[in-house]
């Protein structure tokens, strides 16, 4: 092996690993990747994609079924469903991204420190995690919403805090395994400081488990976020958000089914795609979790 690789060679090395990685994905996982990619497009510029203003009320256009004019129909205020879905993608996916980032930011330092140092710090952290996890599923997010009040930003914080304990458990669990490895002992033997060991040796080896749980967590965050929207505790009207849109149409199921159907199907499709991707990632990155 050549010891001195040029910078371009190293970069090519990194990119050339992406292609075989993609090839290892199953057809379903590839399709999921495409779906997630397409639905992320509105994140950048919904204005270019949406045919109408998502909040424009048009009394003459209410309850229009899907047509050439309104591809997915209009709701009880005459707002274009497709446009609202596209703008809603931004709200719903941002909620997922922000809350997952928040969970990661809370859980990584806590989990690494608890798992690496063990002792009283670990005991206290894990007891607190136990207590917080006694509020299952959406309940912890509801507690945070009750404290902060309803709203999209608060929903992001609520979901982020609500899912953090589960992340902390995973990070700590992986850290416990890594800290017993002989390369950590070697690092300690040559006098590396704890901070550097955690940053350079432990963290990179925890990151795979973190990626797996963050992917699944992204799907969970979208579900909980849209559930909060559905309950009227997340994004507030007239903002377009997928869960809120489903709730808008629930009284018109009998005749104007499209109001709820399209946003609901979109949430289901995104979450399904992310879950399929998460399964594929887990099989590749961390076969032990299978």
């Amino acid at each position: 092996m050549a010891i001195a690789l040029s910078r371009t060679q190293m970069q090519r090395g990194r990119w050339s690993r992406v292609v075989p990685f993609l090839q290892r994905l199953s057809p379903a996982a590839k399709l999921s990747l495409v779906i997630v990619f397409c639905l992320s497009l509105p994140l950048i510029a919904p204005r270019w994609l949406a045919p109408y203003d998502p909040t424009a009320v048009a009394p003459s256009e209410i309850f229009q079924p899907p047509s050439a004019r309104h591809w997915l129909g209009t709701d009880q205020f005459g707002r274009d469903i497709l446009s609202r879905l596209i703008y809603g993608a931004r709200n719903s996916l941002t909620l997922g991204l922000v809350s997952v980032s928040l969970s990661v930011l809370i859980s990584v330092p806590l989990g690494l420190a608890a798992g690496y140092y063990r002792g009283p710090l670990d005991a206290v952290t894990m007891r607190v995690v136990d207590i917080v996890m006694a509020f299952p599923g959406i309940l912890l997010a509801l507690v945070v919403i009750a404290i902060l009040g309803p709203g999209l930003t608060n929903a992001m914080i609520a979901v982020g805090i609500g899912e953090a304990p589960a992340y902390t458990r995973v990070v700590r669990g992986s850290t416990l395994v890594v800290r017993e490895q002989s390369y950590i002992e070697a690092a300690r033997a040559i006098g590396t400081r704890d901070y550097r060991i955690i940053k350079d040796y432990v963290f990179p080896n925890v990151i795979q488990a973190l990626i797996v749980i963050a992917t699944v967590g992204f799907a969970v965050a979208i579900v909980i976020g849209s559930s909060l929207g559905f309950l009227g505790l997340g994004a507030q009207p007239p903002a377009a958000e997928w869960g809120t849109m489903v709730s808008d149409g629930r009284n018109y199921l009998r005749t104007e089914w499209w109001i709820s159907a399209f946003p609901g199907a979109t949430i289901g499709m995104v979450v399904l795609a992310i879950n399929v991707l998460g399964d594929a990632l887990r099989d590749i990155l961390d076969p032990r979790l299978r």
Binding site: I131, F135, P136, G137, L142, L148, G243, G264, V271
Partner: protein, 307 residues
């Protein structure tokens, strides 16, 4: 065994205490003055706020207030609703049966369905049946409960008119909510049972059973199932928690007057004592089910006790 039970019960007591402290602190964590928070957004004369502050003991030191809250909670006194002035405990007493009925029915469906489909799918690995179960499970995990609920309402209540849309007075009212809620938990269990069974079916003692001519049915039901089911108990108890959380959404979809619906309405109305009561009951129910599952787990799998 006694040591294990004692340890586990102590741990539960610690968790319950922590839950009580968090629920108590909720009012104090709201940005602003707790006494004012209790009035919501309504403009109230300052003297009246002071009066409430004194009456509820909010002018006393925090640890003292906590002791008072715990003392009240221990006697079943969870305060009064700010909107209706009814005792929170009596509102809860009215709401709990509906939620309990829903949670138990959903859990029964989830366990029965999860175990059944898990076994079917493991014993016919890589066939269309296996794929069908996997897809059904993936849909159950991915669709948010409010969406599954609306789909079921649309199909079975609006189109086919088999079941009533909302309400909670008969067994027929219970079917759709229980299926909605049970599908998710059942999907997770089915996947777990499938992988657990596949692992067990690869073991030596199963091959021995095949070799001595045991029938397939008996191998599945007798040799494999017992060991494949062990992890199911833990996950089922975790799923029971998710299910209690999910009840909040499902009760809203189907307009059932349970604890979850009570919680959502209370949050929207800023009725803090009601929020605290509902959160407390759901968290306690979950802690209790976890304790039972762990004890049962320790009972059937000795490794847990000495682990």
């Amino acid at each position: 065994m006694v040591r294990f039970i004692l340890h586990r019960v102590l741990q539960s007591i610690l968790v319950v205490f922590g839950v009580l402290v968090i629920v108590f602190l909720m009012v104090h964590l709201v940005p602003g003055d707790p006494a004012q928070v209790l009035f919501g957004d309504a403009p109230v004369p300052k003297a009246q706020v002071e009066e409430v502050r004194h009456a509820l003991g909010l002018d006393q030191p925090l640890p003292f207030q906590l002791a008072r809250y715990l003392h009240g909670a221990a006697r079943g006194d969870l305060g009064r609703s700010l909107k209706t002035d009814r005792p929170v405990a009596s509102d809860l007493a009215r709401a709990i049966p509906s939620t309990a009925e829903l949670a138990i029915a959903a859990m029964a469906l989830a366990v029965a369905g999860g175990v059944f489909f898990g076994i079917v799918s493991a014993s016919s690995r890589n066939t269309w049946l296996d794929s069908g179960v996997s897809i059904l499970a993936l849909l159950g995990i991915s669709f948010p409960t409010f969406w599954t609920g609306l789909l079921l309402i649309w199909l079975f209540s609006v189109r086919l008119e088999w079941f009533p849309i909302t309400g909670q007075h008969s067994l027929r009212h219970l079917v759709l909510p229980a299926v909605t809620l049970g599908w998710y938990a059942g999907a997770i269990l089915a996947r777990l049972v499938r992988s657990g069974m596949l692992e067990v079916l690869g073991q030596d003692y199963i091959r021995t059973a095949w070799a001595k001519g045991v029938t397939k049915r008996r191998i599945l039901a007798w040799h494999a199932l017992r060991n494949g089911l062990i992890p199911v108990i833990t996950v089922a108890s975790v799923q029971f928690g998710t299910l209690l959380g999910g009840a909040v959404v499902v009760e809203t979809v189907f307009a059932r007057d349970g604890v979850g619906r009570m919680l959502v309405l209370a949050i929207l109305q800023k009725d803090f004592p009601e929020v605290q009561g509902a959160v407390l009951i759901l968290a306690l129910a979950y802690s209790f089910s976890n304790l039972l599952a762990d004890l049962f787990y320790g009972f059937i799998d000795p490794r847990v006790r000495y682990g």
